[in-house]
């Protein structure tokens, strides 16, 4: 029974913490968000050099063979920096899926390109009608010659529009509602029939809606076996929920410490506002939410990595994070008063990210409802 960091984790934490402190200050982040590219290619190379892009992949494809716990440690630190580079999209989601489901031959080249930092990827899975429920996907990939013809509309593909490759989920069989029949395809963003409507998200990421109109691809575009991708997608999403939640913990702990600092110096009525008992207890509540969220993160990391009740553990984590994020985020703003709602101060941006994390990969309400349904029939 040991929750301390091992050497690799300590190293990851140190390097990420150093990077955020030295190279990802709030002003430089703002410049990246406002840049045409929307992310920093130079930083992406740094991530490659630091081994972060290799972290979760097996050693045989040039990865570090890191565990989900390792990823958790890294993501928590990246959360403290409000990193906008598409680490979650490329490494945790698309890369994870390639590693889980692509054929051995495909995997090697794709992951090497990913790990070296040459190639970005995004996960084009979700759709408007399906929301985050992958079983409801309706994008089709009908057989066409020895290849496929794709049609559909992918909603809010995080990391798309940066010139990377799209890992698209489409039906080669089954109907919306079926877990079977889902397949993965690799598409270029500028392939014929692919059109991207790009935008920035509320929290400064780049994303796009992706429309597929009669996109014709050869058989090599299919990743892994046809019709069998659901388990891999599901497993990837559980990992992604852990990683996203780890990021949330980093964001929340930052908001807590910012708020505590602020309340120690901000004076009203001639005293620091932190001398008011009501505000002290509010911060004690924020502290407890941070700690409970972190504990739940540990639980779910172990459960998901161990494959034991992974779906339930991931949903429980997302619910717990959603609750903590709401309290910590809202109270951080409330205690900062007017300053909290300005674009100028970093606090508001942590809050915005935290709010979007609740939406991403399914909200607290959605996951709680899922758990209630599981309990009701258990």
């Amino acid at each position: 029974m040991d929750f301390s960091l091992n050497d690799i984790q300590q190293m990851l934490q140190d390097s990420a913490s150093r990077f955020v402190r030295n190279d990802y200050g709030f002003a430089s982040r703002r410049a990246i968000v406002e840049s045409a590219a929307g992310y920093s290619a130079a930083h992406w190379q740094t991530y490659a050099e630091l081994g972060w892009l290799a972290l979760p992949f097996p050693e045989e494809v040039g990865g570090m063979g890191g565990s989900l716990s390792d990823l958790m440690v890294l993501q928590t630190e990246l959360g403290r920096g409000l990193i906008v580079e598409p680490y979650l999209a490329t490494v945790v989601m698309a890369g994870n899926l390639i590693n889980r489901h692509a054929a051995a031959g495909q995997k090697q080249a794709l992951l090497e390109a990913l790990i070296s930092g040459e190639q970005l990827f995004s996960f084009a899975g979700f759709e408007a009608a399906a929301q985050h429920d992958i079983r409801l996907i309706s994008t089709t990939a009908g057989a066409d010659g020895d290849g496929y013809r794709l049609n559909g509309h992918k909603a809010v593909v995080i990391g798309a529009g940066l010139g990377g490759k799209l890992v698209v989920v489409a039906r080669t069989g089954g109907r919306p509602g079926d877990a079977g029949g889902l397949s993965l395809f690799l598409l270029d963003e500028d392939a014929e029939g692919v059109s991207l409507q790009g935008y920035t998200t509320n929290d400064g990421l780049r994303a796009a809606d992706v429309r597929l109109s009669d996109v014709l691809v050869g058989p090599e575009a299919l990743l892994g076996d046809a019709g069998t991708a659901a388990p891999a997608i599901n497993a990837m999403l559980n990992d992604a929920i852990v990683a996203l939640s780890a990021e949330a913990v980093g964001v929340m702990e930052t908001l807590l410490s910012r708020t505590v600092e602020f309340c120690k110096v901000r004076k009203q009525f001639g005293v620091p506002i932190g001398s008011f008992q009501v505000l002290q207890h509010r911060m004690a509540d924020m502290f407890m939410e941070c700690e409970q969220a972190r504990s739940m993160l540990y639980y779910a990391t172990i459960a998901v990595a161990g494959g034991c009740d992974a779906d339930v553990a991931a949903s429980r984590l997302k619910v717990r994070i959603g609750k903590a994020a709401r309290l910590v985020g809202q109270q951080a703003i409330q205690l900062h008063g007017g300053m909290g709602v300005t674009d100028e101060l970093d606090v508001g941006h942590y809050f915005k990210r935290l709010t979007m994390i609740n939406t991403q990969l399914g909200s607290r309400d959605a996951h709680l409802h899922r758990l209630v349904q599981l309990q009701s029939v258990a």
Partner: protein
Amino acid sequence: MNIDFTEEELAFREEVRQFFRNEMPASVRDKVARGCWPDREDHVAYQQALYEKGWAGVNWPVEYGGTGWSAAQRYIFYNEAAAADAPRIIPFGLAMVGPVIYTFGNDEQKARFLPDILASRVWWCQGYSEPNAGSDLAGLKTRAVRDGAHYIVNGSKTWTTLGHYADWIFCLVRTDDSGKKQEGISFLLIDMTSPGVTVKPIITLDGRHEVNEVFFEDVRVPVENLVGEEGKGWTYAKVLLTHERTNIAGVAPSKRRLARLKALLADPPAGVPSLRENAVFMARLVETEIELTSLEYTELRVLSAVATGKAPGPESSILKIKGTEIQQALDELWLEAAGIYAMPFVPEQYQAGFEGESIGPHFAPSMAPLYYNNRKVTIYGGTNEIQKNIIAKQVLGF
């Protein structure tokens, strides 16, 4: 106990409905219905339509051109206005400085300022908060030093809503700091075109420019712009604050937003999650609705007490606290209804006149910015924590 409307009140309601159907500018209504922010011209057009009808001074006594309406009539008016997607009436002139002037101002001031306020010919803004005087409003530092027939004003105000639209600003300024901090405050009217006045935008979390800092550098203000007595400004401001709190509750607009959400869920357009199947969400919605009905009746109780001659007291703090909590609960419900399309930030999509291809359901991408922006409501007008202090002290006797 009786809340049935009389025949006269029912007739009045019909008249109000007619007005909103026929006389409110349609373009303004459409913007509000689509969740766009009306601009300066929209507000002025709406308020001048009210003025033409004689309804601009909803709370004003008849002698100053007000409606003289009963509490029931005002209740009907606000509900119909919200149901018709009217924008809020910008409060700074009509609900704030106007009443201060007709209550505490002299005859010259009444004659000079009231007609333009009533007709929305002059746009006012509020100069209360300062960078170091938020919750502790009485700690304000902007100074007005008498110099012959003028005050020389130096200092700055912040969170000045729509100050960049304003022609005039009413300010609390310090004219004396020898005694208790509340005692040296005066209420001053300042022409925004005066030399030395600078307005600097503050961009809020939603990316919008709604609030401002206003700087005063050796601004010369004629002494006749002082309202009431020097040093009594705090007394006048406190009266205003009680009204402001009541106004902030926003029961009628919240009812409208809730009704709209229920309509959306009953027949969700493409891309809106099927939330009626999610009992967790629906329980939140039902509880918010119950809270709102409770607040509506709390407000009616306050109005009814006012009608029978009692002044709105510290109970107005309940309206402020619960009203803003409900607004934020509605923000969260709407954010959930936006689903996956809560993420894109596409402000052009909810600007008037947008004709591009919508990202997701039209309303969805504006829900997160609205949620961000509305964090302010539990902060401004006296934070909700300050309101609880008021209840503890003035109602419970601590």
